[in-house]
């Protein structure tokens, strides 16, 4: 199929940037979206132009790097997939596709479609861990009884790949689905209890410091999240946050 692409080009963090139109031809419907981008870049390189910079790594939906805002939605129109898992069969011959970087004040553009998501890293460092003794006589995790229900919910929360689609989709650029998932995955398990109060307080404080907005429960993040992280995780974080602050 033949497509028209409208892509955000920006030389560097300080550049103003603009949308530029490109044409690609003979795209197979079996290609992934990133393979289509590879075709475009090859074309650009052959004609001596600067290729479009975009993030990617695993190309199988587990690393969370491939941030693209496609036709007004994070990771494009399909549900439960990342951009690298998005098939070109979702589009029709002759379509015009708009491709932009994830937009949020806390995710500054580095170049073209590449944004800096270190803010997520700093939120993780603020509390997304448990402290354990690594002296060699660490307790076996399987020896601690955990209900099936809690284990399942914690596993679901832990499937968050930190891609940032939730922030990109949110009209407030709120990171609460991501932080909710990271808080929940520990809050649900006995190992996470000891540091639970400090964790939620520190992670929320870092989240605010990074300049993410506040959740107004529009639910856009849950719909666009490639891993199906549920809004229940935001409620759990709110609950943990209230609990931690009431206790002082």
């Amino acid at each position: 199929m033949n497509l028209t692409l409208k892509i955000w080009r920006q030389k560097g963090p300080q550049d103003k940037g603009q949308m530029v139109d490109y044409k690609v031809t003979d795209i197979s419907e079996h290609m992934s979206f990133l393979e289509m981008m590879d075709v475009l870049n090859e074309q650009l390189i052959n004609s001596g132009d600067e290729p479009v910079a975009f993030d990617h790594d695993c190309r199988e939906g587990i690393c969370g790097m491939c941030s693209m805002y496609i036709n007004g939605e994070a990771h494009g129109p399909d549900r439960g997939v990342t951009t690298c898992q998005l098939h070109m069969r979702m589009f029709k011959d002759g379509d015009t596709i708009t491709i932009e970087p994830f937009r949020a004040a806390a995710f500054p553009v580095i170049k073209d479609l590449v944004v800096d998501r270190m803010a997520f890293e700093r939120i993780q460092q603020a509390g997304g861990y448990i402290s354990i003794n690594t002296s060699g006589n660490t307790q076996d995790g399987n020896a601690i009884p955990i209900s099936k229900h809690a284990a399942d919910e914690a596993m679901d929360a832990a499937t968050c790949i930190g891609c940032g689609a939730c922030v990109a989709s949110c009209k407030n650029s709120s990171a609460m689905l991501f932080v909710g998932a990271k808080v929940s995955q520990y809050a649900l398990l006995p190992q996470g209890q000891v540091e639970a109060a400090d964790r939620v307080k520190n992670m929320v404080a870092q989240m605010d410091l990074e300049g993410f907005g506040n959740c107004t429960n529009t639910g856009a993040c849950e719909i666009e999240c490639p891993k199906g992280i549920s809004l229940e995780n935001i409620a759990r974080m709110n609950r943990e946050f209230l609990k931690a602050n009431v206790k002082g």
Binding site: N172, N217, T218, I234
Partner: protein, 206 residues
């Protein structure tokens, strides 16, 4: 905090509705209850300031929240398909809220200001006052009816998102959430519809 003040406002709304609906059934009972509400010191000097504070707090915090959230996204998307993942009411709380605020200025001017002037500035006795008559005369004007009906439509839109949003904000998302969603929808539609009914009733039935 937004949610706590909102809970309070929703409770107040229910109470306000209960009294207003009396005006449909019985002018006398409505007058008696209004007299009680207008003269009881607990209501006048404790609940009234608390309510005023609740309203002001809610919209001031609403504005601050909106400003902060706008600051969190400085560059807008060239193409954004909001309808694909969220409802219109959830994205436009600030506008439905603003309309309610405008309406409240109008509404206070209709009922609250005359009442306060009569009571505290002119110092008139409130005994035997015909509140019902005041309501009926107010609602003779078709423009006023139009504004009231429109305001209640906006209120319904605001609550359609707000009711359940408030529960999510205080961390309540559990096995009752599904049932509560239905109840929230019913509340958000029935209460404003009820208010509309009262306004129209007095307009066509005097």
């Amino acid at each position: 905090m937004m949610a706590l003040s909102a809970f309070f406002l929703m409770f107040f709304l229910l109470q306000h509705f209960a009294i207003n609906i009396l005006s449909v059934f019985s002018p006398n009972v409505f007058n008696e209850v209004s007299y009680f509400m207008g003269t009881n010191p607990l209501i006048q000097y404790v609940m009234q300031p608390v309510l005023l504070f609740g309203i002001v707090y809610h919209f001031v915090m609403g504005f601050i929240l909106e400003l902060k959230n706008r600051k969190a996204q400085t560059v807008k998307y060239a193409k954004n398909n909001g309808a694909a993942n969220s409802t219109w009411v959830s994205r436009n709380m600030i506008y439905t809220g603003l309309f309610i605020l405008l309406f409240m200025v109008f509404h206070f001017n209709d009922f609250w200001v005359p009442e306060i002037v009569d009571k505290f500035i002119e110092g008139n006795s409130q005994v035997g006052k015909d509140y019902h008559h005041h309501v009926v005369t107010m609602f003779e004007n078709p423009v006023r009816i139009g504004v009231y009906v429109l305001a209640f439509v906006f209120l319904a839109l605001h609550l359609l998102h707000g009711f359940n949003s408030a529960f999510q904000s205080v961390g309540a998302n559990n096995k009752y959430t599904k049932g509560l969603k239905g109840f929230g929808k019913a509340y958000a539609l029935l209460i404003p519809l009820g208010f509309i009914f009262i306004a129209l009733f007095h307009h066509f039935n005097h």
